[in-house]
Symmetry: C2
């Protein structure tokens, strides 16, 4: 009864790690996975080892990607126009190279066709446009999917789009858990918890640090996305930067770029859970593309007033040794399980991480 | 639909603060309260201000009590044999002194008689014997109560008794949330959250600090209970100490007593939620009865291995300025709301704080 069958859309870093991670968890069975080239389905459970080996190329050229610690928007368009690198194995690429898979041109539809027996779907697809993930959800709703969809997106405005379409998901019987990575996700949940000493929240400060293991060359796509958060840039202008221009910006910052007031959905997710006003939430971080060490310790600070009139700041800190991969994927699967529990209890609609915490 | 009516059994520190606290929360209406002398019921909502004034004596002689930060077992037997001080107002005492109340000799039965329209009951009674709170739950079950019971107890063996009787609560339709104070409770939840970076937990260390505002004289009952955690003592021997003997022990420690390996239910509550083994959890703290300052910062440290082989320690810290009252009562009402949500979804039985976190 506690067993959960889940599917993964996308086999980039997050998708592959979700498969890997699930082998360490009880009662969590991956039964389907796809990328744009192939789909693998086995309702008794995929052979994860084989599938990971087959899709190895999907992540090999990705290295550790900076925006994942901060987010979940994990596979932004690459300079070559593709969204991910894929392994070529004979004539097959990516998932299709697995002996468990079939090549397909309609991977998402193929998963939807099997979704009757899938409890949850982790959407680990590149979020190319703001409405891309909401649209994927809509396709599941059109097929009357009853189950859980989980994304690890980070942009506030995507949450708004999901909220606008909440009725569609509700009508289908979908429990849509959004922003379930590191931030928003792990750190949003920590903020909701840390807020419990207080009756009034003055400030939630989320500050992340990411040190890139393999240099930034392999991660230019993500660096590009982060640059969109710098003063003077937005997603549109960042998308149009040449590689050389990106390199110049990185060099100007000596490889260490600080981000302030990022458009991360932590703010709207905390507000919708009734924890605080969105305007009291700030998200920032430091990305060091030339060091493996985190340039700053990932920290959540929640400042408020207690019911007895004191003012204080509770603090949650992640050890520098914990990778962004661990901090995205552990919580993502935890929130997935929480979503399944809600779904089985008949609770449908759009849920943020803080909504899934005790009802503070 | 989100509105919650709740009752409070007991109007000592935690009960009174729950009433106070609820006035700061939306959708949370106190409709009943009792102590051993009286019962007040108003299904449209109690006049909290009047009730607090009437029961003021219940807390005035309690001061800030050390074991609450650490626990929730908040009104241990006092040296005088009573379990709480009560205000005398004319011929009436405690709750009975309120214009909203009636005197009674069967306060709990009186609340049970009204429980059809009560969503949740916070049990803030002295936990004199290990099975006292489980027995209160059984009385609600015998009356076929369908709703939420919340306690803020702390002893591991009480959880065991609740677990043994889970079927009784389930059959009635009761969602019993146990250990929902500071520790276990707030800090147990933080440990469950902080564990999400890891696939294997090596150690959970919970360390609390409490500085007594009003000296220890008024809190000898609680100091007595804490002494039961010291080497060479147990609950039985501590109960038989004279006031002079307690004073000697306090003096031997220069007013600052350190506790290690306390029998706090955080261990069993984390194990039952699948976070770690009970034996990997340690709870300790420092009680300073001669200073208002916390002698140490209340901290949760979770050490584990990430899925990618790193070892790290995530940390959650409460600001020294947050009182144990704030850290018990905020979470208690949060867990109460979480319990109501579960209850309305048809989930009955015994739940610890970590069970109510995202399904990690």
């Amino acid at each position: 009864m506690d067993d959960i069958n889940f599917a993964v859309l996308g086999t980039g870093g997050i998708g592959r790690r979700a498969l890997d991670y699930s082998t360490r968890k009880d009662h969590l069975t991956p039964v389907a996975a796809c990328d744009r080239h192939g789909v693998a389905v086995d309702h008794d459970g995929l052979d994860v080892e084989e599938l990971l080996a087959a899709t190895e190329g999907n992540i090999a050229s990705e290295g550790r990607r900076p925006s994942e610690e901060a987010s979940g928007d994990h596979r932004e368009p690459r300079a070559d126009g593709g969204t991910q690198a894929v392994k070529q194995s004979g004539a097959m690429k990516g998932v299709a190279a697995s002996v468990q898979a079939e090549p397909t041109e309609t991977p998402i539809d193929d998963i939807i066709a099997e979704s009757d027996t899938i409890d949850a779907v982790l959407i680990a697809l590149p979020n190319l446009e703001h409405d891309f993930i909401p649209n994927v959800g809509e396709r599941f709703a059109e097929a009357d999917y009853e189950g859980v969809l989980v994304d690890v997106l980070k942009r506030s405005r995507v949450i708004d789009i999901l909220d606008e379409r909440e009725e569609t998901y509700e009508d289908s019987g979908i429990t849509f858990v959004c922003g379930a990575g590191a931030t928003p996700g792990f750190l949003t949940g920590a903020a909701a918890l840390a807020a419990q000493s207080f009756v009034e929240i003055e400030a939630v400060e989320i500050h992340w640090g990411v040190g890139l293991k393999s240099g930034y060359e392999d991660n230019r796509g993500t660096v590009r996305e982060d640059i969109a958060h710098l003063d003077g840039y937005d997603i549109e202008t960042a998308r149009n930067l040449t590689d050389e221009e990106i390199e110049e910006i990185v060099a100007e910052h000596d490889g260490r770029i600080e981000f302030t007031d990022m458009e991360h959905a932590d703010d709207v997710l905390l507000e919708r859970a009734g924890i605080c006003d969105a305007e009291d939430v700030t998200v920032g971080g430091v990305l060091d593309v030339r060091s493996d060490e985190k340039p700053t310790t990932t920290t959540v600070r929640v400042t408020g007033r207690t019911f007895d009139g004191e003012r204080g700041t509770n603090t949650f800190q992640l050890d520098d040794a914990t990778s962004m991969e661990a901090n995205v994927n552990g919580p993502a699967l935890g929130y997935l399980k929480a979503g399944v529990r809600r779904n089985r209890a008949g609770e449908y609609g759009v849920f943020g991480p803080a909504d899934l915490m005790p009802g503070f």
